[in-house]
C-alpha cells in the first residue's frame, strides 16, 4: 500500500506540474518559452507513464513513456526549429488579446470546468487507480490548449496549444487504455512530429509571404459587400 500511495502522490505531482506547464503556454511571452513549456509537459507525460508502468507492471506503458520521450521531447522541437527557422522563436508576443492576469484567471476557471466535466467519466471508470488523477489533468490540458489557440496571436504559440492538447489527450488515456496495438502506438507517436513539420512549414510560408507570423491578425477572408 505504501508504494501505491507513493505512486499516486508522484503521479499527482507530475499531473500538477503538467497543468502548470499548460498554464505557462497560455501566458508565456516568448515563443522559445512556449516551446520549453511544451517540452516540460511532454516530460511530465513520460514521467507519469513511467510511474504508472512501474505501479501497474505494464510493459506497454514503458514503451509509451519511451516513445513519448523520443518523439515529443527530442524529435518535435528539432523538427519545429528546423521547419520554422530559428528566427521565429526569438519573437515575443507583446500585445495580448486578453491581459495576462485575466487569462490566468480564466484558465483557472477552465480548469475547474474541465475537472467537473471529467468527474462522471472518472466515477464510471472501472476501478483504475490513477484515472482520477490523469483524466482530469488530461482534460485540463485539452481545455488549456484550446484556450491558447483562441487567445494567442502568434503562429508558434497556437501550434504549442495544439501540441499541448494532444499531449493532454494522451495524459488522460494512459490511465484508462492499457493496450493500444503497437502499430497504433507508433503511428500516433510519429504523427506528432509529422504534424509539427507540416504546421512548422506552414508558419514559415506565412512568415515569408506576409512578413510576420501573427496569424491571429490574418482576417482578410470574410464576406465582403
Amino acid at each position: 500500500m505504501q508504494t501505491l500511495e507513493l505512486a499516486r502522490v508522484l503521479d499527482g505531482s507530475f499531473a500538477a506540474l503538467s497543468v502548470l506547464a499548460g498554464l505557462g503556454v497560455i501566458v508565456a511571452r516568448q515563443m522559445r518559452g512556449t516551446l520549453y513549456l511544451f517540452i516540460a509537459h511532454a516530460l511530465m507525460l513520460s514521467a507519469s507513464a513511467t510511474v504508472l508502468a512501474v505501479s501497474l507492471h505494464s510493459a506497454h506503458l514503458v514503451w509509451v513513456a519511451l516513445i513519448t520521450l523520443v518523439t515529443k521531447v527530442v524529435a518535435v522541437p528539432m523538427v519545429l526549429v528546423w521547419a520554422t527557422g530559428a528566427k521565429v522563436y526569438g519573437r515575443r508576443e507583446v500585445e495580448h488579446v486578453l491581459s495576462i492576469p485575466l487569462s490566468l484567471l480564466i484558465a483557472a476557471g477552465l480548469a475547474f470546468v474541465a475537472w467537473s466535466v471529467s468527474q462522471p467519466l472518472v466515477q464510471a471508470i472501472f476501478a483504475q487507480p490513477f484515472a482520477a488523477i490523469n483524466v482530469p489533468a488530461g482534460l485540463i490540458a485539452i481545455f488549456f490548449g484550446a484556450f491558447t489557440v483562441a487567445v494567442r496571436r502568434e503562429g508558434v504559440a497556437q501550434l504549442m496549444g495544439l501540441l499541448i492538447m494532444e499531449s493532454g489527450a494522451f495524459f488522460a488515456s494512459i490511465a484508462i487504455v492499457h493496450d493500444l496495438t503497437i502499430i497504433a502506438e507508433i503511428a500516433a507517436a510519429v504523427d506528432v512530429p509529422i504534424a509539427a513539420l507540416v504546421i512548422g512549414l506552414l508558419i514559415r510560408s506565412i512568415g515569408s509571404v506576409t512578413g510576420n507570423t501573427r496569424v491571429g491578425q490574418m482576417v482578410r477572408l470574410r464576406e465582403r459587400r
Binding site: Q123, A184, L202
Partner: protein, 484 residues
C-alpha cells in the same frame, strides 16, 4: 490483399510522382483508376459475401465502409482527371505567385491514400490516425496558391481541424478503453457488440468528445468557420475532395457511433444529440448562404448544410430515415464534387470568384453556365437529381416517424437554402453579360471530361439506382441501425 493494394497503390503513385514531374498527373490518374476498379470489386464482394477481412484483421470492409470507399475512389478519379488540365490553366494565368506544382501530385496521392484508409482500417485508434493524416496532408494542398488568403485559409483549416482531432482523440480513446474492457475487439463491429455493456458515462463522454472533435472536422456549426475559407481558397479539384469526401470522412465517424449510442440503455436521448447537432448546422448554413458573395463559398456553406441534413436524418431514428441518411451521404459527395468542378471552371472563365458584379454566364460560356445552373439545382435538391431523392426520403421518413418538429424545421431549412442557392447562382448565370468582362478562355479538355463523368451519376442516380448499389445502400443502412 485487395484491400491492402488499395492503400499501397496511391502511396507508390506518390513516390513515382515525386520522382518524375512530367508523368506525375498520368501516374495519379492511372493509380486512381485502378483503385476505383479495386473498390468496385471489393464492394461487389462485400454485397454478396459480407464483410471482407485482410492482413490478420488489420483491414476490414463492411457495407457502410464500402459505400464510403466507393465515393472516395470515384471522386479521386474525377479529381485527378480534372487536375490535369485545371492546374495548367491556373498556372498559366496565375498573377504573381509560383504554385507548389512539384508537391501537388505526391500530396494528392497521399491524401487519397489516407482517405481510403478510413473505411479500411479496423482498429479505432488507427482510424483516428488516418483522419488526422488527411488534415496534415491536405494542408499544403489548400495553400497551393501561395497567396496570403490561401495561407490564411490553410492555417485556419489546419488549426481548427487539428484541435478537433485532438478532442476526438480523447473521445476515441475513452470509447476504445470501454470496448476493450467489455471484452470486445476495438473495431466498429466490436463497438456495436459492446455497446449495451458499456457504462453510460463512458460512452456518452466519448461520444460528446468525438462529436465535438469530428464535428469540427466535418464543418458542423459552431466549429465551421474554417470551412468556407479553406473550401474557397483551395484549387477546385482539391475543394471537390475536401468538400465531397473529407468532411464526409468525419461525418462517417460520427455516424458509425450512432448504433452504439442508441443500443445503450443508459443514454435516453441518443437521437436528440444527432437531431440538434444536425438542425443547428443545417439552419445556420441555410441562413448563411443568403449573404454569401463568392460562389465557391456558397458551395462550401452548402456542404455544411448537407452535413446537417445527414445528421438530422440519422437522428430521426427509423430504418427509412437511415436509408435516407446513407443515400444522402452518397449523393452529396457526388453532387458536391461536380459543383466544385464547375465552380473551378467558372472561376477560370470569369477570372474571379465573386457573384456580385458578374452575370450572364449562360450567354458568355454556355457550357459553364449550364453546368453551373444544373449543379446549383442539383445541390439545392431539385428533381430529377440524386439529392432530391435523398431529401425526399428523409422528409417522408421523418413525418412518418412522427418527428414533426424536427422534420418541419428541416424542411424549412432546405427550402431556405434552395431559394438562396437558386437566387445567388441565378443572378450569376442569367441576364446580360456584364460588359468589360475578359473573353472566355478555352477550357481544358480533361477538366471538361471530368465534369462530364462527375455529372453522370448525379443525373442517373436521380431516377435509376443499379441493383447492386441499391443492395449496398440497404445493407449500409442496416448497419447504421445496429445490425452486426
Amino acid at each position: 490483399m485487395l484491400l491492402a493494394a488499395m492503400l499501397i497503390l496511391p502511396a507508390t503513385a506518390a513516390l513515382l510522382a515525386l520522382v518524375s514531374r512530367r508523368s506525375a498527373p498520368w501516374v495519379t490518374l492511372v493509380a486512381s483508376l485502378v483503385v476505383l476498379w479495386l473498390a468496385v470489386v471489393a464492394t461487389l464482394t462485400v454485397i454478396t459475401h459480407g464483410p471482407l477481412v485482410a492482413v490478420h484483421g488489420g483491414l476490414t470492409l463492411d457495407a457502410l465502409g464500402a459505400l464510403y470507399l466507393l465515393l472516395v475512389a470515384f471522386v479521386g478519379v474525377t479529381s485527378s482527371l480534372y487536375s490535369i488540365g485545371y492546374l495548367e490553366v491556373r498556372h498559366r494565368f496565375a498573377t504573381r505567385t509560383v504554385p507548389r506544382y512539384r508537391q501537388y501530385h505526391p500530396l494528392f496521392n497521399l491524401f487519397l491514400a489516407s482517405m481510403l484508409a478510413v473505411p479500411l482500417l479496423t482498429n479505432l485508434a488507427e482510424i483516428w490516425i488516418a483522419i488526422e493524416l488527411t488534415t496534415i496532408l491536405s494542408a499544403f494542398l489548400v495553400a497551393y496558391e501561395d497567396r496570403a488568403e490561401a495561407l490564411e485559409a490553410a492555417w485556419k483549416y489546419v488549426v481548427l481541424t487539428t484541435m478537433g482531432a485532438m478532442i476526438a482523440l480523447l473521445g476515441i480513446l475513452v470509447i476504445y478503453a470501454g470496448v476493450h474492457h467489455a471484452g470486445q475487439v476495438p473495431s466498429w463491429a466490436g463497438l456495436v457488440a459492446a455497446a449495451p455493456l458499456l457504462p453510460p458515462a463512458v460512452l456518452l463522454t466519448g461520444f460528446v468528445l468525438a462529436l465535438i472533435g469530428f464535428g469540427a472536422k466535418a464543418g458542423l456549426v459552431p466549429m465551421h468557420t474554417w470551412l468556407p475559407d479553406a473550401h474557397s481558397q483551395a484549387p477546385a479539384p482539391i475543394c471537390a475532395l475536401l468538400s465531397g469526401v473529407e468532411t464526409s470522412a468525419a461525418l462517417y465517424m460520427i455516424l458509425r457511433l450512432y448504433p452504439a449510442l442508441t443500443h445503450n440503455s443508459g443514454i435516453p436521448g441518443a437521437n436528440a444529440w444527432y437531431l440538434v447537432a444536425g438542425l443547428v448546422s443545417a439552419g445556420t448554413a441555410a441562413f448563411l448562404i443568403l449573404q454569401v458573395t463568392d460562389f465557391k463559398r456558397l458551395f462550401a456553406y452548402s456542404t455544411v448544410e448537407h452535413m446537417g441534413i445527414i445528421l438530422t436524418a440519422a437522428g430521426l431514428g427509423t430504418a427509412a430515415a437511415h436509408l435516407g441518411t446513407v443515400y444522402q451521404l452518397f449523393a452529396h459527395a457526388l453532387t458536391k464534387s461536380f459543383c466544385f468542378y464547375v465552380a473551378g471552371l467558372a472561376a477560370v472563365t470569369l477570372n474571379t470568384q465573386r457573384i456580385k458584379g458578374n452575370s450572364g454566364l449562360l450567354i458568355d460560356s454556355p457550357l459553364v453556365g449550364w453546368a453551373l445552373l444544373l449543379g446549383a439545382l442539383a445541390i439545392a435538391g431539385a428533381p430529377p437529381f440524386a439529392i432530391f431523392i435523398g431529401e425526399f426520403q428523409v422528409l417522408r421518413a421523418g413525418f412518418a416517424a412522427g418527428q414533426y418538429l424536427a422534420t418541419g424545421l428541416l424542411t424549412i431549412f432546405i427550402v431556405i437554402a434552395f431559394i438562396a442557392i437558386v437566387v445567388q447562382i441565378g443572378g450569376l448565370v442569367f441576364r446580360e453579360p456584364t460588359s468589360g468582362q475578359t473573353p472566355a478562355r478555352t477550357l481544358p479538355v480533361s477538366s471538361v471530361l471530368a465534369l462530364g463523368f462527375a455529372f453522370l451519376p448525379v443525373l442517373v442516380f436521380g431516377f435509376y439506382l443499379p441493383p447492386p448499389l441499391r443492395q449496398l445502400i440497404h445493407q449500409a443502412a442496416a448497419l447504421l441501425g445496429g445490425a452486426v
